[in-house]
Amino acid sequence: MTLDLQTAARPKPAPARPPRGAWRNRLDAKASPYLYISPFYLLFLAFGLFPLGYTFWVSLHHWDILGNNHYTGLRNYQLLLTDPDFWNAVTNTVAMFVIATVPQLLGAMFLANALNRKLRAQTLFRMGVLAPMVTSVAAVGIVFSQLFGRDYGLINWLLHFAGVHNIDWQAHQWSQWTAISTMVDWRWTGYNTLIFLAGMQAIPRDLYEAAAIDGASRRVQFWRITVPSLRPTIIFTSIVSTIGGLQLFTEPLMFNQNLMQGGSLRQGQTVAMYMYESAFQRFQYGYGSAVAWMLFLLIIIIALINYLITRRLAGGRI
């Protein structure tokens, strides 16, 4: 809109083109923008929007691998709400999400604060914290599964110095939560650190100088100036982490050696894994689609809760 006003104020250039190509020029000016943006919409329509809408349609059916189907209404959702395996997956997903996200964002903020100083070898430090993000999820899963190994894992070896006997990290729910959250944190803390750092660099420095003159310590400055000013960034990172964190799939799958159940007692199965298991291993497309929509709902609910919490937390300090 502002662009229109600007060009209207500027004198129009004289028509320098021969009149013969005029219609072609007009067509070029009118059609080109739509032509240029159309690839995204076409692709999204075919491979994004259609599958999403169709997922809902399929979820209202009993639908098998051969395409045999009949309409069952909301029956899949009804079954899902009383399915203990589904609720187990929801518990695992939410638990891993909370255990992973809270320390991750706090750690990222802390590290960003350290990076937001006059530093030697600044780029080196920034690259150092970001390196894990380059590593693929599959690689992370494989390396950490070995580190968390029961008999020869480095972590159990380190723990034995503290008198802890070998832990079978795959065997229990709490230990799977811990191991998988560790992988997520390792991979994503550095990325969030840079996002926070960018936010911190946009805070005017005289705010800190004024606070320092008033005798505020660094700790007080951090909580009274940095955190409240970062509010939009905190909301952004927590929403992005919610969308990513609740779709957790590859890490738990690798940790359980491709076992889609996430362990013999489903102790590490997430909702995304349950969706995959229903659709691609039990070939219940309808039921799997219902799981997909419940996951979507879960993401929206938790993103909203998150938004309310972070808004209050970050805003309440000032």
């Binding site: 662009l3 320098a16 995204f40 259609f50 350290a114």
Partner: protein, 291 residues
């Protein structure tokens, strides 16, 4: 009185300069963070260069061994992993997706930033909204669609749906908005250039810094893609992450082989990251400020 106030001023200036000095504690914290970041990558190389006897010993080996090439040979020699094919497939898919995303996103970003047309703002809003939608949600019908058009097990199934992304369009639009002066486009128009000609000769060269960052991101993302590939491809025609998962699922006791496969799949990305790290960091931080 004047003496006193001057001293206060100097002290204030000193103090505000000191405010941003990094203390030794800051350095210790950061070095500790980097060690934590780097260790699993280092560990990957340690195991990849050891024998399985070494891996199963207590205390665990902490320095590199001498069996790296032997282990790599075992990965490529493994009949079930199809590792060489996986590397080629991933290289093709990642390159094609990166080039295509950069081209179509630049084109659309240019249109959104610099051309005037009806419904521009609403259409841009749709793109931002699609960035919020979790892609995994649609994989069941997407898979059914692939079955229908006989694309399951084929490489194009992991390429075509991702040829242009909402994120790419949005990123290029943000960059084009501030990097290209309107006068430049007007001048080219007066010279009689068509819109596409303007894009190709004037706009695209100016977008190059952002295009490079987008290409890097997209390459890495496609290289690391897992869930959809796992669903739609088959073990005998995998991408590299799929092949890793196969190895890990089947030969998880053979750590030195699985880890050397993991290292081969990771090292190219680390090299790209070391060469272009500055640009990647810049890309993330600039995007963050605007978001």
């Amino acid at each position: 009185m004047t003496v006193l106030s001057r001293r206060t001023v100097t002290r204030t200036v000193e103090r505000s300069a000191r405010l941003w000095e990094a203390s030794p504690l800051t350095y210790i914290t950061l070095i500790f963070a980097i060690v934590l970041s780097a260790f699993p990558l280092y560990w990957m190389l340690v195991i990849a260069s050891r024998t399985n006897q070494d891996v199963g010993s207590i205390p665990p080996p902490l320095v590199l061994g001498q069996h790296l090439f032997e282990n790599i040979g075992r990965v490529f020699g493994n009949q079930n992993a199809h590792f060489a094919k996986a590397l080629v497939n991933s290289a093709i898919a990642s390159s094609v997706v990166a080039i295509s995303v950069v081209f179509f996103s630049s084109l659309a970003g240019f249109a959104f930033a610099k051309l005037r047309f009806r419904g521009r703002n609403a259409l841009l809003l749709i793109i931002v909204a699609t960035m919020m939608v979790p892609v995994q949600m649609g994989i069941i019908p997407l898979y059914m669609l692939m079955v229908k058009i006989h694309w399951t097990g084929q490489l194009q199934a992991v390429i075509v749906p991702f040829l242009v992304t909402g994120f790419g369009v949005f990123m290029m639009r943000q960059y084009a908005e501030q990097a290209i002066p309107d006068e430049l486009i007007e001048a080219a128009r007066v010279d009689g250039a068509s819109t596409f000609r303007i894009f190709w000769s004037v706009v695209f060269p100016a977008l190059r810094p952002a295009a490079a960052v987008l290409a890097l991101f997209q390459f890495m993302q496609t290289w690391n893609e897992f869930m959809w590939n796992f669903a739609v491809l088959t073990p005998d025609n995998p991408t590299v992450q799929y092949a890793l998962a196969q190895l890990n699922g089947t030969y998880y006791a053979d750590y030195s082989m699985v880890f050397s496969g993991t290292a081969i799949a990771t090292v190219p990305l680390l090299v790209v990251f070391i060469v272009f790290g500055r640009q990647i960091i810049g890309g993330i931080m600039e995007g963050a400020i605007k978001a």
